[in-house]
Symmetry: C2
Subunit: 218 residues, 2 copies
């Protein structure tokens, strides 16, 4: 019975996610669902990407948090449209929350939409939002064993961003082992390694975004 209820919730969420994606497609908006543990650098990556792309790409952000508007405030300071979702304790965004947020954005003025999920390496993986690509960040201090311990997140994502590479020399992080584990779970995944703090390694990530934007408009 318990499993059945959960299945119904997931089915309803998937239908709403498909509706969101059709709305985004109609407006030719590329939407990315950004997922990670707390403090892995989701907001920092979004901010750095805004700084580099905002002159040629119209960007908006949906910010998901349990509580507070800290991250939304940081993004709004960059002159980018942002809608805050507070889940009030919920451990992930769902498609219904994102639909409400989309209703509060001027969709005709957006090319690229970041949806920053709640900091959590578990729950967000089970809920589609209507995004075109799912991106999981893994920061170097978290350790290279995370794909084994939290496999669903790495299996379900189209891109993995290894963040905080500036700390790599100080920590026991086996980059090759990490990549092997990720590719073992998800052979077609894109892997980027960068430091959102220093900006090092950002170019391949930006090129990928631009190629995805181009292919959506082709």
């Amino acid at each position: 019975m318990k499993v059945k209820v959960l299945q119904n919730i997931l089915d309803a969420n998937t239908q709403m996610a498909q509706k969101n994606q059709r709305l985004l497609d109609n407006h030719r908006i590329l939407a990315l669902n950004i997922m990670a543990s707390p403090g892995a650098g989701k907001t920092s990556l979004i901010l750095k990407t805004i700084a580099r792309l905002k002159d040629k790409t119209r960007i908006a952000v949906i910010e998901g948090d349990i509580a507070s508007t800290i991250d939304a405030d940081r993004i709004s300071d960059q002159g980018v449209a942002v809608v805050q979702i507070n889940t009030g304790g919920g451990c992930h965004l769902d498609a219904n929350m994102v639909e409400n947020a989309l209703n509060n954005l001027k969709l005709n003025e957006i090319d690229l939409l970041f949806i920053e999920n709640v900091g959590n390496l578990v729950c967000p993986a089970a809920f589609r939002l209507g995004e075109h690509k799912r991106v999981v960040l893994l920061s170097v201090p978290e350790g290279d064993d995370k794909p084994i311990k939290y496999p669903m997140m790495f299996t379900e994502s189209e891109a993995v961003v290894i963040n905080k590479t500036d700390l790599m020399p100080l920590l026991d992080f086996d980059l090759d082992a990490f990549k092997r584990k990720v590719i073992g779970l998800n052979p077609d995944v894109e892997i980027f390694q960068l430091s959102a703090k220093t900006g090092q390694g950002l170019d391949p990530w930006l090129s990928w975004l631009e190629a995805e934007l181009k292919s959506l408009r082709a």
Copy 2:
């Protein structure tokens, strides 16, 4: 309706947690629920504590993970009794899982029980397991804003451990601001700051554990 179902689940869990705590009390076992984001250093802190206390204290560990036995293997290598719980996707331990694990431990041979929860700064806060103390780890690379974004975890815990202090000089972590936020949420909380990697700052943590063990046996 949805809220009511959740409330029933939480009530049933609380009753099972109380049953677990009575069982632990009968055996004079001090049980700690260790919670944190993925990669914050829960296993490392447990391992360091085992190394320092195992000659005078009989320690056992219940390891909670979505998948894998990596952490349980590391602990078993130290000659300590360990039971692995794989939640199979679930984002937190619950009291029922812990009851099953307790049935697989020799309770007459344990003084101190660590229950390492799934790496998650959200869901574990809502589920009591039967523990005497709840401990949340926050690693310095996660940032000092986490109590604002994930308040329940900091409100519900009896102790906060700031881990990876060896990285503090390299990162923008405002220790005073972090402590102020934690104390604002939870004025009576114990706060420790240490590096499980280097061992620096471990003594106050160990003294607290020993005092708690003593008071349980008084």
